[in-house]
């Protein structure tokens, strides 16, 4: 939607997924580093949410409005839910859960980009 935010989100989310993969392979549960990375991703997602809402209010319209709004809502929910689900029982699989969330964000951001531009 906005190139800098999109690229930043993809890089951060891939980083989160990569860090979590390493933790899972080493049989570790997520540490401060991973939760911090997740928080950073969520922060940028919230910035994206605000920018998107402002642009929608100003009259910009994505190619598929309904789908875009759906992705927008989902995008800010994924990381918090994943962190809660990962924290409930802490082992290597918590790291996998958090890593999956990172990959889901990558897909969501790419799809939001597609849906906004209609390409």
């Amino acid at each position: 939607m906005i190139d800098a935010v999109t690229i930043g989100l993809i890089v951060l989310s891939l980083l989160l997924a990569g860090l979590c993969l390493v933790a899972a392979v080493r049989d570790r549960s997520p540490a401060t580093l991973h939760v911090g990375a997740a928080a950073l991703v969520e922060l940028v997602l919230l910035i994206q949410l605000v920018v998107a809402v402002v642009r929608l209010l100003l009259g910009d319209r994505p190619a598929e409005l309904g789908t875009f709004v759906g992705y927008l809502i989902a995008s800010v929910l994924v990381v918090p839910v994943a962190v809660l689900w990962a924290a409930a029982q802490r082992d290597r699989w918590s790291s996998v859960v958090l890593g999956v969330a990172g990959l889901v964000i990558v897909v969501l951001v790419l799809r939001m980009q597609q849906v906004w531009t209609g390409v």
Partner: protein, 146 residues
């Protein structure tokens, strides 16, 4: 997506099963299932709300697959004898669904003018819809009664 984290406490409370379906690897499985429950519901919702007449078969199937994913997610997250039975059925339906719809969408593309989660064996979703029920059934088998 509203799984109660407290439920995992029952891992130790129920020694009859090898493991709770939402413990260990099961937590990751439930997470991926939840993603597909959300994705399939959202897709079906948008398709049916905006253009149901264009491809009623595909969109009805999208809605059906969404329900199956929601049931599977809930059942795997909950665990216990009853939920396990529900999860077996849901994962079984899912496997049959992805195989039948996958084959049908390739053999009779005209009947599927728009994609469903299960079209072409879940190709549009990195074939995860094909792998997921196999993992789900394998996990249920692994954690069954000792």
């Amino acid at each position: 997506m509203s799984e109660q984290p407290q439920r995992v406490e029952r891992v130790d409370a129920g020694p009859r099963f090898a493991a709770h379906t939402a413990s260990g690897p099961g937590r990751a499985l439930v997470a991926v299932y939840a993603v597909f429950a959300l994705a399939a519901s959202a897709r079906a919702g948008v398709q049916i709300a905006t253009r149901f007449a264009e491809a009623p078969v595909a969109y009805a199937l999208s809605a059906f697959s969404a329900v199956v994913y929601i049931v599977a997610t809930g059942a795997l997250a909950r665990g216990g004898p009853h939920a396990r039975r529900v999860a077996w059925v849901a994962c079984g339906i899912e496997l049959v669904g992805v195989l039948v719809i996958g084959a049908a969408s390739l053999l009779y593309p005209a009947a599927f003018p728009d994609e469903t989660v299960w079209s072409a064996f879940g190709q549009g979703y990195l074939f995860i819809p094909l792998v997921l029920p196999v993992l789900g059934l394998a996990w249920l088998r692994r954690t069954r009664l000792r």
